[in-house]
């Protein structure tokens, strides 16, 4: 039982990183990405391949996975984020499909069978096959992500991002380079998803393309919306709730999708801004006032 609880907590932790990073794109740039799982997958495969084929130690493979995912994010962001409107949603959707197909067909990535026997991390005699240690490792990365995003959002850059989200043209005539900001945030978010991917690969020790498809992208998007766009705590809650709820209702697995759908519909009717969101969709003054008080 404890093993099981530890497992759920570790998985929650991974989803928290994914949700937080996607929330940066959605909540702070006002852009929608439908291919976040692709960066998660790129991180997982990079890290797995490095450790299996080149015996790179995990603690070197982890940051490399983040860098590779971030580079793909940069390559995707530069051409698309300079455009106005929601081209990013379409391009990321396509990117997700392409990555999925490449992983399925490349010999190096093992095709549909994926990669097995990914070595668990090892550091100074600590065996991370023990779930308690792995949880600590995931918790450390979650804490790092939380700290990074919290500091970013509360810095002058966070303020510039909010200005871009509120009104891009005005932000630009203030001298804020809107496209540079969007591209940097997108790159950072892709890198964080890569971190989560690496952690996933070395935890499960077996990966195949199925875990990184559109389904996962939509799931993380749902977590962001449930928790609230632009809310850090909301992302943590959204990821936690959507990881734990399906487990609680496992006995009714046949009806799980129905419950999901019903929950989303209820949410959109009664709380379109998400559980803890500040409400970009239905901006209400009373809400933003409360938030201003909290921020003080």
């Amino acid at each position: 039982m404890t093993e099981y609880l530890l497992h759920i907590t570790i998985i929650s932790g991974l989803y928290i990183i994914l949700t937080l990073s996607l929330n940066l794109i959605i909540g702070y740039c006002g852009q929608v990405s439908l291919g976040h799982a692709a960066f998660y997958g790129l991180g997982a495969y990079t890290s797995a391949l490095l450790t299996i084929h080149w015996q790179v130690p995990f603690f070197l493979a982890l940051p490399t996975a983040a860098v590779i995912a971030a580079l793909f994010g940069l390559g995707l962001g530069i051409p698309t984020l300079r455009l106005k409107d929601d081209y990013l949603a379409i391009v990321t959707l396509g990117f997700g499909v392409i990555v999925d197909l490449i992983l399925l067909n490349l010999e190096l990535t093992g095709g549909p069978d994926g990669l097995a026997r990914i070595p668990p991390p090892r550091l100074a005699g600590i065996d991370f096959r023990n779930k308690v240690y792995y949880l600590l490792l995931v918790a450390a990365v979650v804490a790092f992500t939380l700290g990074l995003i919290y500091r970013l959002v509360h810095s002058c850059h966070g303020r510039a991002l909010k200005a871009i989200r509120d009104h891009e043209i005005t932000a630009r005539v203030m001298g804020i380079n809107a496209s540079a900001y969007k591209i940097s945030i997108f790159t950072l978010a892709a890198g964080l998803a890569g971190l989560a991917g690496s952690l996933y690969a070395h935890y499960i020790t077996f990966i195949n393309p199925e875990s990184f498809g559109l389904h996962t992208s939509i799931l993380v998007l749902t977590m962001v919306v449930l928790g609230g766009m632009g809310s850090i705590l909301g992302s943590v809650v959204g990821a936690g709730v959507l990881t734990i709820l399906p487990e609680l209702f496992r006995r009714f697995a046949d009806y799980q999708d129905v419950a999901y759908g019903a929950m989303l519909i209820a949410l959109l009717i009664w709380r379109p801004q998400g559980l803890l969101g500040s409400g970009k969709i239905s901006q209400k003054f009373s809400l933003s006032k409360n938030r201003a008080k909290k921020e003080r």
């Binding site: 989200r165 043209i169 005539v173 203030m174 201003a292």
Partner: protein, 246 residues
């Protein structure tokens, strides 16, 4: 009046394939208030957007203090000393009033001076201090316009571009906005102003240009334009007399 601070030389700008500015030439001298008048769709806002770098001209030149800025990015143009207040009081509604003001100084690096400028503006417009922590979206229309102008001043602009500052405001607030514009001129800011309210604009302006369908159709001193029937017609159509005298 000194030499020209800003000069547009037969500027052509497009929205996609739509030819909006068809050879606009105008100049603004240091210390002047210049009004840009004209009916809706004449290209006034596009002219301002072209100056501040939001739209790149296809042909022609924009010169600011002797430098060709027509190929520079919007960020670089702000740093040269041009601040643009877009139409419709675009404050950042989810950010506090104080944060809005601080963002006005985004392109500046002299943090100490920014702080003292902030205090100075809050003294001049006490409402900005009283509401400092409130989200800007909760301000009234007039307060938002004051905030938008004060935010532009935080950039310490040499040239201020104002796009319809009186739009949608009550008459009492319109007066207040124009009082601020006059005060800005006295403190040495050069202003290029777009206005629907041609009479009010010409009262504060030194000179004016009238635009029609992407071209400058008329220019002159404010006093000349005030009496010019062409201005009234360009703006108000044939039945201008009743409206103008009202």
């Amino acid at each position: 009046m000194g030499t020209a601070m800003l000069t547009l030389k037969s500027v052509h700008s497009y929205y996609g394939s739509l030819h909006v500015l068809k050879g606009v030439s105008l100049h603004v001298r240091a210390g002047e208030i210049v009004a840009l008048l004209g009916a809706n769709g004449a290209g006034k806002t596009t002219t301002l957007k072209t100056i501040s770098g939001l739209i790149k001209p296809r042909k022609g030149q924009v010169e600011f203090q002797g430098e060709d800025i027509s190929r520079l990015s919007a960020e670089a143009i702000v740093q040269r000393g041009i601040a643009h207040v877009p139409e419709g009081r675009r404050v950042f509604s989810s950010l506090s009033v104080a944060a809005n003001l601080e963002l006005g100084a985004f392109a500046r690096r002299d943090q100490q001076a920014v702080k003292s400028d902030l205090r100075e503006l809050q003294e001049r417009f006490p409402i900005l201090r009283e509401r400092a922590k409130q989200p800007a979206g909760t301000l009234s229309g007039g307060e938002q316009q004051i905030l938008a102008m004060a935010r532009a001043l935080m950039a310490r602009p040499k040239l201020l571009l104002l796009d319809e500052p009186s739009m949608g405001l009550a008459p009492r607030l319109v007066k207040q906005v124009f009082a601020i514009i006059r005060h800005l001129q006295e403190t040495g800011t050069t202003i290029l102003l777009i206005e629907q309210n041609a009479r009010a604009a010409l009262k504060v302006a030194d000179r004016g240009y009238v635009m029609e369908t992407g071209r400058i159709s008329l220019d002159g001193t404010a006093a000349e334009l005030m009496d010019h029937n062409e201005v009234k017609r360009a703006y108000l159509g044939k039945g201008y007399q009743e409206v103008w005298e009202e």
